[in-house]
């Protein structure tokens, strides 16, 4: 398959995943910000959302401070933010269009339909309720696109590259939530359960759609180190770092088998998975959660670069 084709497929999947991630960040932040301020922290939830989305530099260049109004606009609709939801969907569609015949018509319809519908949403006329409905819609677009990929694509390299895009993007997104919020997960003197941070922890869970899953997995009230465990090491949790690397390694192996050649991306991804598989959350806290996350973000980028180097250019 052409490298450019693989590249377009990979980035289509990444941008759809990123759009959904932004929708979940905004959704969780809206919820947190509607709590009375003595439950929600110091009123910095919109700053957190900007930091987590990874576009802080561009945002603060344009805005002196973050509030619901300008963050909503910037993260969801702004044409000036290259990673706004609107731009993510537009870029995903442009990538898809360039390799239209490498996708199934269901995938194309999901993306093209979304892109056409997107124009109906006007942030200026949107109340909170309408905005919440918009975020639901974004999540549904991602579900429809990903579901079509899963249900309709041939299981060949095109499919595998799309899964790699999802895996790398997810790992990056989850790690970025942890990078911004790690401090609220650190053990402190607050009493468990009564902590002010409780709502921060549940917000993190909502950002990865794991609020319910948490209770099924741990069967106890929300504890910060278990939130970290769920997001980092739990392989059942589809957005955890470990599960993302399960996906990445599996599909890189399928590609290597099909092409009869392994390379740096396979070795690096396998090393990442091995590290996650053998780690314990206590150990991670002991040697420093923040350092762990910073290293992970860097290494995940390296795996992405290795994939690009090996296959996409």
């Amino acid at each position: 398959m052409l490298s450019r084709t693989a590249d377009h497929i990979y980035w289509t999947a990444r941008y759809v995943e990123r759009a959904e991630f932004l929708a979940r960040i905004l959704e969780a932040t809206l919820r947190l910000s509607s709590l009375p301020s003595n439950y929600g922290g110091a009123g910095t939830e919109w700053d957190s959302a900007v930091l987590t989305s990874g576009c802080a530099a561009a945002f603060y260049k344009a805005h002196p401070y973050a509030d619901e109004h300008n963050v909503r606009e910037f993260l969801a609709f702004s044409p000036d933010n290259p990673s706004s939801i609107r731009n993510c969907l537009a870029i995903a569609r442009t990538n898809a269009r360039a390799v239209r015949t490498a996708l199934t018509s269901e995938m194309w319809d999901a993306l093209n339909g979304a892109w056409l519908e997107l124009r109906q949403f006007d942030n200026k006329k949107m109340g909170r309720e309408d905005f919440a409905r918009f975020l639901d819609w974004v999540k549904n677009v991602s579900l429809a696109f990903d579901g079509s990929a899963y249900r309709t694509m041939l299981r060949n390299d095109a499919y595998w590259f799309s899964r790699l895009g999802v895996g790398i993007e997810r790992a990056d997104n989850t790690a970025r939530i942890l990078d911004v919020k790690y401090h609220v997960l650190l053990p402190d003197t607050e009493q468990v359960g009564g902590s002010l941070d409780y709502f921060q922890w549940t917000t993190i869970l909502r950002e990865v759609s794991a609020h319910t899953a948490y209770h099924w997995v741990y069967r106890q009230s929300v504890q910060p180190w278990l939130v970290a465990d769920l997001l980092i090491l739990n392989r059942q949790m589809p957005r955890s770092l470990a599960a993302s690397y399960d996906t990445i390694v599996r599909h890189l192996d399928l590609i290597a088998d099909a092409y009869g050649r392994r390379g740096p991306s396979q070795r690096q991804a396998r090393a990442m998975l091995d590290k996650l598989a053998s780690a314990r959350i206590e150990g991670i806290f002991q040697s420093g959660l923040h350092e762990f996350i910073t290293d992970f973000l860097r290494d995940n980028n390296k795996v992405g670069a290795a994939i690009a180097e090996q296959y996409l250019i």
Binding site: M1, L2, T101, R261
Partner: protein, 471 residues
């Protein structure tokens, strides 16, 4: 001027080929026809032809209108057309071989040297070069018009990168879905083997054909090109990679494409970009669409370009006027397909005649295409005629003139109901190392505006499915 209607609309006698269709049209309730028309449009929007533009407001390209009433050609008519097309394309190939080689046709006085040498599409880089299997025009679209029951004319030859074949295929697809009963009543020659025929043609002209499985690719300028849909559609049907210039590179005069499994050698490039943009090292240095070094690989005989470089000479309308002589010279046969009588304004007597008769003639730029830069005398205003008079005096060699033909009409849906509209036909002719292939029919274009003779989609033309009835 009464035009010949191919169904017999406006006369008492329905022509035999259209009998069953006429009965069906007369008996079909108007609601059904309306429903089918909107279904056809929906089909094109959803699956097809417009995905590149569907819903785009930035790059507003239209859906090319599709008329559901088919255009019918009998087997007898087609057989004659096909023979004529084959003869003409063979002559075009021989002509190109000659003008880039021994130039016998010029020495024999068949065509003036300056028409070749000063032609903007004549490529000096190709002089004295050999192209794989001696074939220049692998894919051509020969535009045909009809004026009465027996007379077909060639209107122009498209020997560069003719487009429209995806419409031919999609039009048939939508008709078979919407009108299965009509297909049951007629014996209609299929066209869906075109991609197979094209692939066979392209594979046959690979350098050192038979050495191994030749790798064929389709080279597109990219998704912002107006014909991108057709490129991606054809690549998909052919089962070949759709590549952009940046996907290819040349090393040691061999072309490779960048794949996820490393470099892969390319043998045949069905290119849908013009000569000028093929290779920035040889042609336009600012072209980002092409592949640096491609021309060297081509001239070294390591890759086949389809069509060859420099075929645009045949698209020139002044060269066109010499086609009857060219056919005779190279095939030794009488041309089966007629040319429209043409005045070459470069010749003083012809120019004088044209200037005296502008209101009744069609005047065309020799290098124009797409229906632009032409004067249709009978439909022109005084000012337009005056403007052309000036242009002609200023640059007579830049123009040819032809009588205004009464192009045949076909019944077509119009606001007022079913009405006659002028049509032409673009059959697609394939020339490979193993012979000429031509699927029955081609693309029928229809001028949707009442009385209009301009069928180009850029000028408000539409398309129809073209049926060649099997014997």
């Amino acid at each position: 001027m009464a035009a010949f209607d191919e169904m017999g609309l406006g006369s008492d006698a329905v022509r035999p080929a259209y009998r069953a269709l006429k009965i069906w049209l007369d008996s079909a309730p108007p609601e059904l026809l309306d429903l089918r028309r909107s279904q056809a449009e929906h089909f094109f929007r959803r699956v097809g032809i417009t995905f590149a533009v569907y819903g785009d407001t930035q790059d507003t390209e239209r859906l090319i209108p599709f008329d559901i009433i088919p255009r019918i050609i009998t087997q007898e008519e087609w057989t004659k057309l096909r023979k004529g097309l084959e003869q003409r394309v063979n002559a075009l190939n021989a002509f190109l071989r000659d003008v880039y080689g021994p130039r016998e046709c010029i020495r024999a006085g068949v065509i003036p040297a300056d028409l070749v040498d000063r032609n903007p599409f004549y490529r000096v880089e190709m002089i004295g070069q050999k192209v794989p299997h001696d074939i220049y025009v692998h894919i051509s679209g020969i535009d045909i018009v009809r004026v009465d029951a027996d007379t077909f004319y060639v209107l122009e030859d498209n020997a560069r990168t003719p487009s429209g074949v995806s419409y031919m295929l999609e039009n048939r697809e939508v008709m078979m879905r919407l009108f299965p009963e009509l297909f049951a009543e007629h014996r209609i020659a299929p066209v869906d083997n075109y991609p197979d025929a094209l692939l066979a043609t392209l594979r046959s002209v690979a350098p050192e054909a038979g050495r191994r499985n030749p790798n064929v690719v389709l080279l597109t300028p990219g998704q912002y090109n107006s014909a991108f849909y057709e490129h991606s559609f054809l690549a998909d049907k052919l089962g070949v990679e759709l590549v952009e210039g940046s996907d290819l590179y040349v090393r040691d005069d061999v072309v490779y494409m960048r794949t996820t499994e490393g470099p892969q050698r390319v043998d045949v490039i069905y290119r849908r970009i013009d000569d000028d943009f093929l290779d920035p090292l040889t042609f336009r240095p600012d072209s980002a669409l092409g592949v640096p070094g491609l021309m060297n690989a081509y001239l070294a005989g390591n890759v086949t370009l389809a069509n060859a470089v420099g075929t645009g000479v045949c698209d020139d309308k002044a060269v066109y006027s010499y086609m009857p002589e060219i056919v005779r010279f190279f095939t030794g046969e009488e041309p089966i397909l007629k040319n429209v009588p043409t005045w070459r304004c470069r010749e003083p007597e012809a120019l004088a005649y044209v200037l005296d008769h502008l209101p009744e003639l069609v005047v065309k730029e020799v290098n124009g295409s797409g229906g632009y830069g032409m004067l249709v005398g009978p439909h022109a205003t005084q000012q337009q005629i005056q403007a052309f008079r000036k242009k002609l005096r200023h640059d007579p060699a830049g123009f040819i003139a032809q009588p205004t033909l009464a192009l045949s009409t076909c019944p077509t849906f119009a606001a007022s109901g079913i009405a006659p509209r002028h049509v032409d036909l673009r059959p697609f002719v394939l020339s490979g190392a193993d012979g000429v292939r031509c699927v029955p029919g081609g693309l029928t274009r229809v001028a949707l505006k009442e009385g209009s003779l301009v069928v180009n989609s850029s000028q408000g033309g539409g398309t129809k499915d073209t049926w060649v009835l099997d014997a």
